[in-house]
């Protein structure tokens, strides 16, 4: 954790003091149009370029315009697993930002407020170190003009840069890149605001912090959020066609793909509705190469019938589901992991499908490639479950070796002698389709179909055929399961408690394990990235622990287990498996996990 609050203090007599710290958590609170995400973005990018670890967290209102919004960034020279429970510095632009977020600041932390809008409370003066600066009026003074409030975010960035002795030339370069191509006066104004903030050293900012040098020197990093990582992962995987309908928080991905795919000769189509988009993607998969569709919440529900067709017709497809709070319209801009059930079971009939869940932003990139390759290899729909948290969270990770990673999946149209798309003799039930355009020399052409079918895809009502084809569709996923690696244990392989997580919660769960172990408690964790099918052999890991606690951001359900918890209970029939759940729409705080685990493991 950060040393800021323990660094002591304000030096007497106003003498400047420099403290070296390993990491810092800065929370910026304002309204959604204040550009606070831009400040956070600049800080995250700067950290990425300085080979530091970084993670961000943001909330956005689901209103059309305006409303309170926050951006939290944690920068560290060591490993950063979460965006931080509590902030070292709270930068607040309004009274509501100040009053609403003071509780997220550590005791003795620094509250940096816009004195034009915030009146500090006397009762909080002793708990927090208050620094008031008339940010709004000083910004207007610096860059003039009538543009109300514009530029104050960049002014505040200057203040932060000074406070943390950040690399000014690198920040100037970032500003230059951000405002490139626009009217040069915009960049000049931004730089003026930045330097005005940087030069402002009022008497009460008496301390400067320096983040120690990174432990991973020489690593070239890229900085992006989860949605970007997925979009670029799909491009690297060779996906060149997609179709979707806009819905929060999925929309960014379709916007990126619509903009980027034409560079590679591909297309992303905005459709009239969710059903049309999954159907169009399936048409493109049928026609040549695996395509992508995606959505969030209600949009996924609308796609389920067509995904059932993909299971039956054995058509490859990648379905990105950026989960949000449900059911129904639910909480569109909040975080939840409540779509595991629909991903695994959301279809009528027996319709087994693959479900993957990346653990962090870097994983979004590489797992998107894995999703495409599983869809191709096993000719099956693959659900890719992320959530609103990972979608908007910015992380830095080592730049992928794109020459090695990028793949060409152009279909092969070499004529074949004969073709059974649903060959029951195929090893492990794994078959692939030949694509339209391929000549089949025996003159028997296949039909991709949603009816139960014989080996050529022609309708069959035979009970035996239905049994055999159901088994084929099941066996190929079992074969995939046998190839999946067991998750690595975080901590020793025996102990009191094993935490089991999936998806975006890996960071806070690991940090909770660190805290437990630091306090002498015997707690380990595993994180499942392949959720359906599960890797084989989890029971051997479970056997080393007294309590298996499944940590999920979903409801504890009618019977006391969250969605993954219920799957693991059904699979392993092990009474040690219990749920640790919450549905407040926010990412896990480490202390929340610690408290809930303590309560459960005591029983």
């Amino acid at each position: 954790m950060s040393d800021i609050t323990t660094a002591g203090a304000v030096a007497s007599g106003g003498a400047k003091k420099i403290s070296r710290i390993n990491e810092v958590v800065i929370r910026i609170a304002g309204n959604s149009q204040d550009g606070i995400q831009a400040i956070g973005g600049f800080l995250a990018r700067l950290a990425g370029r300085s080979e530091q670890e970084v993670m961000t967290f943001m909330t956005i209102p689901s209103t059309i315009s305006g409303g309170p919004s926050i951006f939290q960034v944690r920068i560290g020279s060591g490993e950063v697993l979460t965006a931080g429970d509590d902030a070292d510095v709270l930068l607040c632009f309004y009274q509501h930002s100040y009053e609403g977020h003071i509780n997220s600041l550590k005791k003795k932390g620094i509250v940096l407020y816009d004195a034009d809008h915030v009146t500090p409370k006397p009762e909080w003066q002793s708990d927090y170190h208050h620094v008031g600066i008339p940010i709004s009026s000083l910004t207007v003074e610096a860059i003039g003009g009538t543009a109300k409030d514009k530029g104050k975010n960049i002014y505040a960035l200057g203040l932060i840069a000074k406070m943390f002795d950040l690399n000014v030339p690198k920040l100037e370069k970032l500003l230059g890149e951000r405002f490139t191509g626009k009217d040069p006066s915009i960049l000049n104004n931004a730089l003026a605001a930045f330097h005005a903030g940087y030069a402002n050293s009022p008497g009460n900012v008496v301390e400067t912090f320096q983040i120690t040098d990174s432990q991973k020197k020489g690593v070239h990093q890229v900085v992006m959020n989860g949605n970007e990582a997925i979009a670029y992962g799909l491009i690297a995987a060779g996906v060149r066609f997609g179709a979707a309908y806009p819905i929060t928080p999925w929309t960014d991905i379709m916007e990126i793909l619509r903009r980027e795919l034409p560079k590679y000769g591909g297309s992303f189509i905005q459709c009239e509705d969710e059903i049309a988009s999954v159907s169009m993607a399936l048409g493109a998969s049928f026609a040549g190469r695996v395509a992508v569709t995606g959505s969030s919440g209600p949009g996924i529900a609308l796609k389920t019938e067509a995904i059932g067709w993909a299971v039956m017709a054995e058509m490859p497809l990648v379905v990105i589901n950026v989960q949000r709070g449900g059911p129904s319209t639910g909480m569109p801009t909040n975080i939840e992991q409540s779509d595991l059930n629909i991903a695994i079971n959301g279809g009528h009939g027996d319709s087994p499908r693959v479900v993957l869940a990346p653990a962090n932003v870097e994983d979004c990139f590489y797992m998107a490639i894995e999703a495409v390759n599983i869809a191709r290899r096993y000719s099956t729909p693959v659900f890719f479950l992320t959530d609103q948290g990972i979608a908007t969270r910015i992380e830095a990770f080592p730049q992928p070796d794109l020459e090695k990673v990028c793949q060409d999946i152009t279909p092969d149209f070499t004529p074949v002698a004969t073709h059974k798309p649903y060959d029951l003799a195929a090893k492990d039930g794994v078959t692939q389709h030949v694509k339209p355009g391929t000549r089949i020399l025996d003159g028997k052409y296949p039909i991709a179909t949603g009816l139960e079918h014989d080996e050529y895809g022609h309708p069959s009502g035979s009970p035996k055929v239905h049994m055999l084809q159901n088994a084929k569709r099941r066996k190929k996923l079992q074969a995939l399961g046998a190839t999946l690696p067991l998750p690595k244990l975080y901590g020793p392989s025996e102990g009191h408690v094993l935490l089991v997580g999936w998806g975006s919660t890996e960071g806070p769960i690991r940090e909770a394990v660190d805290r437990f172990r630091a306090a002498g408690d015997s707690v380990s964790a595993i994180h499942l990235r392949h959720v359906n099918p599960l890797p084989n052999g989890l029971e051997n890991i479970f056997s080393g622990f007294h309590h298996i606690l499944v940590v999920e951001m979903n409801d504890e359900g009618l019977y006391g287990y969250g969605q993954l918890g219920a799957v693991l209970r059904a699979r392993y029939t092990d009474a040690k498996i219990q749920g640790v759940n919450k549905t407040d729409g926010l990412t896990w705080k480490v202390k929340e996990i610690v408290e809930l685990v303590k309560a459960k493991a005591r029983k």
């Binding site: 990018r45 169009m280 067509a306 355009g437 003159g443």
Partner: protein
Amino acid sequence: MSQTLSEKPITALAPEIAPGARPGLTRKEIVADHPTWCPGCGDFSVLALYFKLIEKRKLWHEKITTISGIGCSSRFPYFVQAHGAHFIHGRALPFASGVSLSRPDLHVFAFSGDGDAFSIGGNHFTHTARKNIKMTLVVMDNQVYGLTKKQTSPTSPLGFKSKTDIWGAVDYPINPAKQAIAVGATFVARTSASNPNHVLATMEAAMDHEGFSFVHCLSECVEFYEGAFDSANPRKGGVFNEVPKSHDVTDEMAAYKLASADFPGNFGVLYKINKPTKNAKEAEINASFQSKFTGLKDWQILQKTFDRMK
């Protein structure tokens, strides 16, 4: 799984075959399963004429994709020896759009019925037409739900007695041709399964249209709505009124008026205009983007993007 990267366009096309390099297909080579339709169904005629079209135009198995949704009409792909897909109810058009937009080398035919195209799939009919996605849609309209055995369809006339309207249909029916013109289809024609030569000529004109071509084909259900189209069949005492020679097919208002005529109305091409297809527009967008990256491999294009994310 990494493979060598090529600089080929992503919409990889199957190799072109020089005309005359192979003989055209015979009917025997095109026929697949025996149709499961009831004896006397109008759809037999449409299928036979689709085979004729393939023969006449020397289309090859691998160059045709036959796509359908759900309904009696939508069993079509199983009866044709070619690549095909039997998709879900109402969604043949977006599926076919995915094929069309990613494979300009294929002839994309979608076969549908009145329930599939105008009821459950109504939204897709509108948007596929307005986007002018290149394909041919043949709707075999029998004015009744046949596969589920006689319920009211969106084209059932007022008063038609079905199992869901035992007192006679009360909802105003859709006029498919009017609807197609109104939503921006660039080729709208009407024909009837009882007039084979007319069906073939209409399908051929539709196939040759550069854009979304819609053929509204009356096709009688002898089981559940016998005699529905007698008024359009001269052999049953009706009249088969062809679109007047004087009609200007590019005149939208004139086409709309012709389409509005009382049943059985006019047969032939009602409306045909040339507008750039979505296929062409997307290709144009791609060409303009790709021209900025000439000579670069895909990974190098992505690298340029990543260089800005540092």
